[in-house]
Symmetry: D2
Subunit: 325 residues, 4 copies
């Protein structure tokens, strides 16, 4: 049962009531998620009839969908922000050139990894806090808000001190200690789908963050793992409208990780616009062939500009269709 309490007092009252009955419940902001269907005292609250096991993120709770805002960039409903930047922050020059190219081509946010989840312990693990400082500098120079991955609950505060949005990588989608910490981080969260996560598990991971206090979550489809080896992953593009039916949270698509191949990024980006995604996350690097990681799935500055030009009429067409409705 999902109870929305209209005042702080009513929340306290219901919580006390449930506690006295020995009922299991979970309180988060103005909501109380209770097991079963307990009787409730009279008072200022609304009971939402939500059947989903992820009530706080379910579409039933907010049929029009939510808008998540990160430093002025709005995700959700009609907008189509594009987040771009290199896989890893490598140097001041590299991140500044990237940021300028993103800004020039009309991107909305800058991405770049300072903490990198690398398969090998011997691979470059990111510049750490120095990388965060370089991202902040790039923001200063271009005005682009920044999003960067956080790998460990212990780093959440530090990363949140620099970044406008915190990214949870696919490998950490079910790192519940991290998800709980992000509930208190005070920053919007960009949650990537796990390599073999079902849509339900993906939504449950989002529910973790929301249930621990942070309702600003953006979901990111980035491809799942299948038997197909031609592409790095298999983009489950139908997950975008499927998720949008199930949740009020915005859903963006990452065509870089979804394919692992530069030549497929722009066609997939167009498809993401057409299917109704709420934005893109794209890897871009001034010199992909020299990138320390993920070069083969990064656009260079000119290619990124071309991609933005390519998708523009599709974005406009979509927005004009929405207006007509």
């Amino acid at each position: 049962m999902l109870i929305e309490t209209l005042t702080r007092d009513s929340g306290d009252q219901i919580a006390a009531h449930l506690r006295s009955q020995g009922a299991r419940f979970h309180r988060v902001n103005e909501y109380i998620v209770a097991s079963g269907k307990p009787d409730l005292p009279v008072g200022d609250f609304i009971v939402h009839d939500v059947r989903a096991p992820y009530p706080l993120v379910s579409r039933e709770l907010k049929p029009p969908g939510s808008v998540v805002e990160a430093a002025g960039v709005r995700f959700g409903r009609g907008s189509f922000p594009v987040i771009a930047g290199p896989c890893s922050v490598e140097s001041e020059e590299q991140i500044l050139r990237s940021a300028e190219a993103v800004a020039k081509a009309g991107g909305s946010m800058l991405r770049g990894g300072a903490f990198k989840p690398r398969t090998s312990p011997y691979d470059f693990q990111g510049l750490g806090e120095e990388g965060l400082q370089l991202l902040a500098k790039a923001r200063e120079e271009t005005g682009l808000p920044i999003v960067t991955e956080v790998l460990a609950e212990a780093d959440v505060c530090m990363v949140a001190a620099y970044a406008d949005m915190l990214q949870v990588g696919a490998r950490n989608m079910q790192n519940y200690a991290l998800l709980k910490a992000l509930g208190k981080a005070g920053r919007p969260v960009l949650l990537k789908r796990g390599l073999s996560a079902t849509l339900k598990e993906f939504l449950m991971a989002a529910e973790y963050v929301v249930a621990h206090g942070n309702s600003d979550v953006i979901l990111c489809e980035r491809g799942i793992r299948t038997f197909e080896q031609h592409t790095r992953n298999t983009c489950d593009i139908a997950a975008v409208p499927a998720l949008q039916e199930l949740t009020h949270l915005p859903v963006v698509l990452d065509p870089s990780h979804a394919t692992g191949r530069r030549s497929l990024i722009t066609p997939l980006a167009r498809a993401a616009v057409a299917i109704g995604a709420n934005g893109l996350l794209v890897e871009m690097h001034p010199e992909p062939e020299k990138a320390w990681s993920d070069g083969e799935q990064s656009l260079d500055c000119g290619e990124f500009e071309a991609m933005m030009a390519d998708i523009k009429p599709y974005v406009e067409l979509r927005q004009s269709s929405i207006l007509k409705v």
Copy 2:
């Protein structure tokens, strides 16, 4: 090695030469596929430097891509034909109503199964030849060419006598006896990707048809099988541009089987247009809730019309982009 022979005589000459050397080779129409790199006699031929294991369908052979024509409907390059109709032919009234709705909404071809590959031996197996006759009648009334599935090599001639295009279902993608028979069928072939076929295997299956004499093959991405159960299959949409890089054959998309959910068909159809697919295959039924099979993934007549209206501006946008290039 792929040898294109410019005259029949040169083909005979090269074949004789290879035979005398004990070389393994395969002759199909104007092409000779030979193992290794044998020395060749002087004469009227071109050697194509194709590295793919599927030389006849490889993009390297025909960089601009081929156009496959079925009874006047052109697949490939700029066109975007939509094939629609019910999963199974059930009755005269049902198929005629379907055909009229397809024609009215601007569809290009009618689909409908007369031979059905059903998981259970106790389920409806299709009307057989009677179904083919009903399809032919629907063609007569509406002018729409028809495509229908052939399940067995023994039926190829009979089905080809009625249909304008022959469909190979996902379960038969590696039914090599059937593929070989289709090489001689004299009808274009719509080849659906197997449930767990890699792109390479898919292309090899197409190569079978072409290597046995029939170069008119259209590939159809219809979703692959993964762990995700919310959708019937997982649409590997990036396979469309990936295949178009690898082969000159047209690639269409089936959003009905790819998702198994009516509500996802139109968004996915739009994405198919945007990503550059060469057409669609959509299930449509006058009364989906009464359909003998696949009702939950079939649009009704009004929904189909709405889908056609929905994708229209995307098709126009795409065609205008192609003209600009």
Copy 3:
């Protein structure tokens, strides 16, 4: 509803009754599979309360399990026959040497492909009928019954004229035209699980064969396709006891295709014994490094003998446990 008719007359009578009521039903040997729960006339029959959608192969029908016999070799219950031989029949010498090695090491049947389902149309497609004749010769010399794959319904009669058991390959598990033809083949069928077939689909495919008249079916787990690439397939060994709970048919395991690696065959064969499989299908070749196909997953004669010695105490241990029960 599954009806067992105790006399031919009672079967005719019930069929007539169902027909007169317009009920859908399927008659096969002494069984009638009817839709729903029709009223039945008084007479000589038993109604089996089977809930599975594959009533004829369901365990509920024959709780002790069936024994399928092929030319004297018994599959099912306590026995543990080993079928071995090369992927393809290549020459008289090769198949005779193989057969002798199989017989010498205690194998029960000889396998070898005369019709090969090859991914490429340019690869060796098998010796065809000549291969069948060589297999028959090997049987004559060693007394080993033979099993070989049939690829096409058109070949069923010819292959059945030579072979003691007919194999359906993974790619043809849902080739329903072939399955129906095998219902009339008069030979036991070794049905391999499709690359991405669920257990239910696998059992439904077996039900096709049985529902078309042939109750002698043996199931073969041979690995499924997953993201893992170190092994050729992923052996779903738990499918063996899972299937044995669901069906009365015997279940054998193919450790060669399941792994694609010679070094893993023997350990997996031991596991197959221990988990209760009803036999093995193993690839063996006198000179694996020269095999025309699948050499890397074939044991040589000595390795095969070693494998047989290795599993022997496990087979004995299992048989002694069964006796104790």
Copy 4:
């Protein structure tokens, strides 16, 4: 390049040398993992010619395999310890009854979760430190060493203060912050394979722990995620010998999570013995039908005892074969 330094001095010397050349290297205990093949000064060291990207855990480094000891229980080579216990620690009575049953039936270690990675934020998350105290009490009463999952780097010290072995769950296999913390935990680590982790990724995860200082790692195959839904996961049993070829670390199997079905646990346990696994991890609960989690895949006390009796002759058979070799 993998360098083994024979004295602390030689390690310091080589490190200084590599640093002076600007080479990238990683030092862990007596090993130095260096990029490329740098020239080395004369001294007390051995260069290991390891090609695997996971040199410290590769079989090449220790061909006979390692033995990992946890509070006197030896994993690796001939032994076959069985770890058993409930999914979650629920109460003192429950864990004590479990521990007694494990001890009585001949189990080697007790498992039980105090911190639970639950898909839903509203599900029971474990008793936390109280659960650890109950485990410690159970150890006191029975003498069984205990293994329990650690979910977060922040909890590593606390959990290590109670447990004899620390478990990393499938969802955290690539939680690199946690893996690094475990490198310093001073306790052996039981690392479960991720739901869709390749063998290489699994080994790289183990390499993380070893490269951060802890060489006592045991791998656990617990099923991977596939399209098959009859079982909870698909047990990749061939991964056991495949891993044993690739790594010197012990490999145990978890038949409970691998199948999710009580009836399949014992057959799979037998197969694990036969294929050469280095032990088992089994879920057992005094009253599975009342378990707070995973009841359907837990044996009760009697079933566990029966399983131990069932596998016993297989364990003895295996050990006698090893002696003969």
